[in-house]
Amino acid sequence: MSDKFTVEIISPDQTVLKQETKEVIIPSFEGQMGILNNHIPLITFLRPGIITIKAEGEKKYYVEEGTVEFSNNNLLILTSTARDLANFDKSSINELLQKAEANLNTESTDKDRYIASYKIETLKEISQ
């Protein structure tokens, strides 16, 4: 049996990616999570961060939120904000970063602040 499984990233307006892979690392709400094949069925959601897909090469996507389901060796990532890091230009990163920093102080709940802080952290990491 192969050690691969399918990963799909789907946004409301298109299928961003569908391919075979060996390992995917997702920024789940409670921390980074690595997924290999035959993982137990799982549902979780994402915080802002980077999805890393390891196949022949490595692919990285920036996400702000999303829902993840794993079942039958099929990893499904539903998100409206997936951006391929390979063509994510500096100016739009900075734009998002500024917005996020401005929002950080106005967020009312702890959960929103938690999400915003991760967003800033991730964006800073990418822009370096």
Partner: protein, 292 residues
């Protein structure tokens, strides 16, 4: 018998109408391609989302404490109907088909003595429904000024639905829209979004997964359910946009063809009466010459 001049004028007017319908058909065809593409690309997202929700529904052991958005209020008294139509006319039976389906349902709901509330999206549907059911309409949306439907519009409608639900305004929510099958076939459909419909579950999907949840199941559901409502509305809007263009294209194609037929007929009439008047003049000349 209309005079030659009248016929000429009519032919001209029919021809210019034909030009308009032809242009509208071309525009619809161009827009259709785009709308169809986004409708088809948007399908997986909403389907998968629905699937996750359905799987979650099955894994719930304690319906009493499950979120109300998922299992409903347990009552069946108040209905909210969301009717999605276009903002523009001249698209064949598109708007009327949705309204017809919606009205049949309204009648049924009212006939059973239940409470009915209506939200309309799109001004054409509002116009058709307010005549009979105007007093039930609680809110109307119109995205006339938006060129392309985006998720934000759907979210607006979704949030409204959820806030009404939280105010206990309804027990069940049904949306009406046209499902885009292909250019000539659009099927008016109703879909129950609150509580989530579980009956059209696919057979092969019937294994009972025991999912691992992270964080807790309740928290996920709380996040996912409102999102799902908006997603379903978004799907309906996309399907509708594609259907509208398809329907308009067919309608305008028919109109162009009809105008062509009409022009042919009028041209024959025109030529015939022109010939008749020439013959008449000839007869007059000949009989005039004979009498000399």
């Amino acid at each position: 018998m209309p005079s030659l001049d009248d016929l000429k004028k009519r032919i001209k007017s029919v021809k210019s109408t034909q030009k308009i319908t032809k242009a509208m058909k071309m525009v619809a065809a161009a827009k259709l391609r785009k709308a169809q593409e986004s409708a088809e690309k948007g399908r997986p997202y909403s389907q998968k989302m629905q699937n996750i929700i359905l799987n979650l529904t099955k894994s719930i052991n304690d319906p009493q404490n499950a979120p109300k958005l998922l299992v409903g209020t347990g009552e069946d008294k108040k209905y909210l109907c969301v009717v999605l139509t276009a903002d523009r006319g001249l698209c064949g039976g598109f708007n009327s088909n949705i309204c017809k389906l919606a009205k049949t349902n309204f009648k049924k709901i009212l006939g059973e003595g239940k409470e009915l509330n209506i939200i309309t999206v799109g001004s054409k549907g509002h116009d058709q429904i307010k005549r009979e059911y105007g007093k039930y309409v609680i809110k109307k949306f119109s995205f006339k000024d938006k060129k392309n439907i985006s998720f934000n519009e759907a979210d607006e409608v979704g949030k409204e639905i959820i806030s009404l639900f939280n105010q206990n305004k309804f027990d069940k929510c049904i949306i009406f829209f046209n499902n885009f099958k292909n250019v000539i076939t659009q099927i008016p459909q109703s879909q129950q979004i609150i509580p989530a419909e579980t009956k059209n579950l696919k057979e092969g999907n019937d294994q009972n997964f025991s999912y691992e949840f992270e964080p807790e199941e309740d928290e996920i559901l709380e996040d996912l359910l409102p999102k799902n409502i908006s997603t379903q509305v978004f799907k309906a809007l996309l399907e509708n946009a594609a259907s509208e263009q398809g329907s308009r294209m067919t309608a305008m194609d028919n109109a162009t063809r009809n105008a062509g037929d009409l022009v042919d007929k009028l041209t024959i009439d025109y030529n015939r009466s022109r010939q008749a008047s020439i013959t008449k003049e000839l007869i007059e000349i000949i009989s005039g010459a004979e009498s000399l």
